[in-house]
């Protein structure tokens, strides 16, 4: 088996008395889309923050492209090729869409002209081509999600961590953005995504990890995972799987 681009190995993170992430392990295979799902408060975003360097893990190791990267600050990880989006979108509100993307584009383009050209290209790739001159705070929710994606792409990542980029979008907006994400994967970018929209997870992800109360409780293909009684119970409560099974048989 090929060495995965990202390997999280028994990582734990504690906030005071709360064990937010409890010895969680997962991998993201190079060039593939991996999904991380789980009920609210399971620790998904915390795990993302650990991988991207915003939070220090209390225990465990994160490996990326063969190197141990645990504890490295976010900007160094970005330089290594790890990009993340934020669940609560964080646009630079005082700037235009183009200027927002430019911040990321400058990472690998020193001069203003080449960085602007790169930013415009990324903007067009995610479907913001017509809105580049608009102030970022005038964008719709869907526009902001695209901007979040564009900025992350502008640093030319190898690994892209998407934290609920589809949340808050209506079905037609989701239909529009799913091909964009699939296209990124086609360009060789490895994607690890947190997502609640199961329809998108089913159609995009090749492999799914399920996190509940800080632990990875299941993994497998999307179809395997949704059929797993442990996963159903994590979402709907103890005994739910049996009841659901019974109602299906009836």
């Amino acid at each position: 088996m090929v060495e995965p681009l990202l390997a999280v190995d028994r990582v734990s993170c504690r906030f005071g008395g709360l064990l937010a992430v409890n010895a969680a392990s997962l991998t993201a295979g190079e060039g593939r889309i991996t999904a991380l799902i789980g009920p609210n408060g399971a620790g998904k975003t915390t795990l993302f923050s650990i991988i991207s360097g915003f939070i220090r893990a209390n225990d465990g190791v994160v490996r990326y492209a063969g190197d141990i990267i645990t504890g490295e600050p976010p900007h160094r990880l970005a330089r290594r090729g790890i990009a993340r989006t934020f669940q609560i979108v964080q646009p630079f509100v005082g700037l235009s869409v183009r200027e927002n993307i430019l911040v990321g584009a400058h990472l690998h383009h020193r001069t203003r002209d080449t960085a602007l050209a790169a930013a415009d290209q990324v903007g067009r790739d995610v479907g913001l081509g017509d809105l580049l001159d608009r102030p970022a705070d005038t964008l719709t929710v869907a526009g902001r999600k695209r901007l979040e994606l564009a900025r992350a792409l502008a640093i030319e990542p190898k690994l892209l961590l998407l934290d609920e980029v589809l949340a808050g979008l209506n079905p037609s907006e989701i239909r529009d953005i799913v091909p964009v994400i699939r296209g990124l994967c086609g360009r060789g970018i490895t994607i690890l995504m947190i997502e609640h929209v199961m329809q998108a997870v089913m159609s995009l992800a090749e492999h799914v990890f399920v996190l509940a109360e800080g632990r990875i409780i299941a993994e497998g293909s999307p179809a395997q995972v949704v059929a797993n009684p442990i996963v159903v119970e994590a979402y709907l409560g103890h005994g739910a799987a049996v009841k659901l099974g019974a109602s299906h048989e009836r």
């Binding site: 991207s52 915003f54 600050p73 976010p74 900007h75 970005a78 330089r79 990009a83 993340r84 934020f86 964080q90 646009p91 630079f92 509100v93 005082g94 700037l95 200027e99 430019l102 911040v103 990321g104 400058h106 990472l107 020193r110 001069t111 203003r112 960085a115 900025r151 992350a152 502008a154 640093i155």
Partner: protein, 331 residues
């Protein structure tokens, strides 16, 4: 070079003033206004572009002024070298203060409070330490000449400070259009998002602090040469901290010309107040406070920001691409 034309025109316009106006009062007014503009431009780099609001830029102004004066008076150092040392010492102080605050993650009002306290500590030390002349202050010996950087004519001082302001304007424009400037603004807008995009937020803030300290210190060094006297209240007093942040905020934070415009407006209002009410102590502060409230109320992005907004409104009304709704409303 793109974007430098407005700066050159403004500088050229200001440069001919001494040829037209010979009154010492006018020139003195303009020299002080330009000096404040330079101090304000320093604040603007860190506060306007970087979003780190310092309430203690007197620390840099005062260090520049004191180092320039003390090196000359006590150690007989050449005035030009002393001037450069003043700037360097202040930049070093900026690096120290930056390391202290940014590394410990101080932001917003906490950062403002620490800078305020820092300047105040320096003021108290300067008012008792023998090397600064304690309460008496440091007086520079009058010795006219290019070597001693002292001139009889106010016009020469005027051109010197104008040149320094010119350098600060060009530097600010270059920063604005550089990668460093883009990253600095990103840190101001959202530090976490900037970090996620590969921006070394602390490094960027440190660099901004250094440049900021050096610029404001230059104004302080100039003060020492121009007035030939420094004491703790002048060098490290809150007056300069207030003016350094007031001028860019009134003129337009995070804009190249904000501090210059702000300084001229603020100084003009200060003079008007003096004419109206004589030398009533504290009246200028009341006026500044009033203007600050008005500016924040009506043009939160400062006078330049307000002008730009007006400009875009006019463009939109007269431009061919005016949205139909706007036309209907105004038609």
């Amino acid at each position: 070079m793109k974007g430098l034309f407005p700066i050159i025109s403004v500088l050229a316009g200001l440069a001919v003033v001494p040829l037209v106006a010979h009154s010492n009062v006018t020139l003195n007014f303009l020299v002080v206004a330009l000096m404040i503009a330079l101090a304000g431009q320093g604040w603007n780099i860190l506060g306007g572009y970087g979003g780190q609001y310092s309430f203690g830029h007197a620390a840099f102004f005062g260090t520049g002024a004191y180092v320039t004066a003390i090196l000359q008076m006590r150690y007989g150092v050449n005035a030009w070298i002393a001037f450069a040392c003043g700037i360097a010492a202040s930049a070093a102080l900026g690096a120290f203060l930056g390391a202290l605050t940014f590394r410990s993650g101080l932001r917003g009002s906490y950062f403002a409070l620490v800078t305020l306290a820092f300047a105040e500590v320096l003021r108290i030390i300067a008012s008792v330490a023998p090397i600064t002349g304690a309460g008496v202050g440091t007086l520079l010996k009058l010795d006219l000449g290019v070597r001693t950087l002292q001139f009889q004519s106010r016009a020469v001082f005027y051109w010197i400070i104008l040149a320094l302001v010119g350098i600060s304007l060009v530097a600010t424009r270059l920063i604005e259009r550089s990668r460093f400037g883009v990253w600095l603004i990103a840190v101001r807008e959202n530090e976490d998002a900037a970090k996620a995009l590969g921006v070394n937020a602390n490094g960027v803030k440190m660099a901004a602090m250094l440049i900021s300290a050096a610029m404001t210190a230059t104004a302080g060094c100039f003060y020492a040469q121009y007035f030939l006297f420094v004491d703790s209240g002048i060098a490290y007093g809150t007056w300069i901290s207030i003016q350094a942040l007031l001028t860019p905020i009134i003129g337009g934070v995070g804009t190249v010309f904000g501090p210059l415009l702000g300084a001229l407006v603020v100084k003009l209002l200060g003079e008007c107040a003096k004419l109206l009410a004589g030398d009533a102590p504290g009246l200028d502060l009341i006026i500044y406070g009033g203007v600050l409230v008005l500016v924040i109320w009506f043009v939160p992005r400062g006078l330049i920001g307000g002008l730009l907004h007006l400009h875009s409104l006019i463009l939109r009304r007269s431009g061919p691409a005016a949205p139909p709704m706007e036309e209907a409303r105004h038609g």
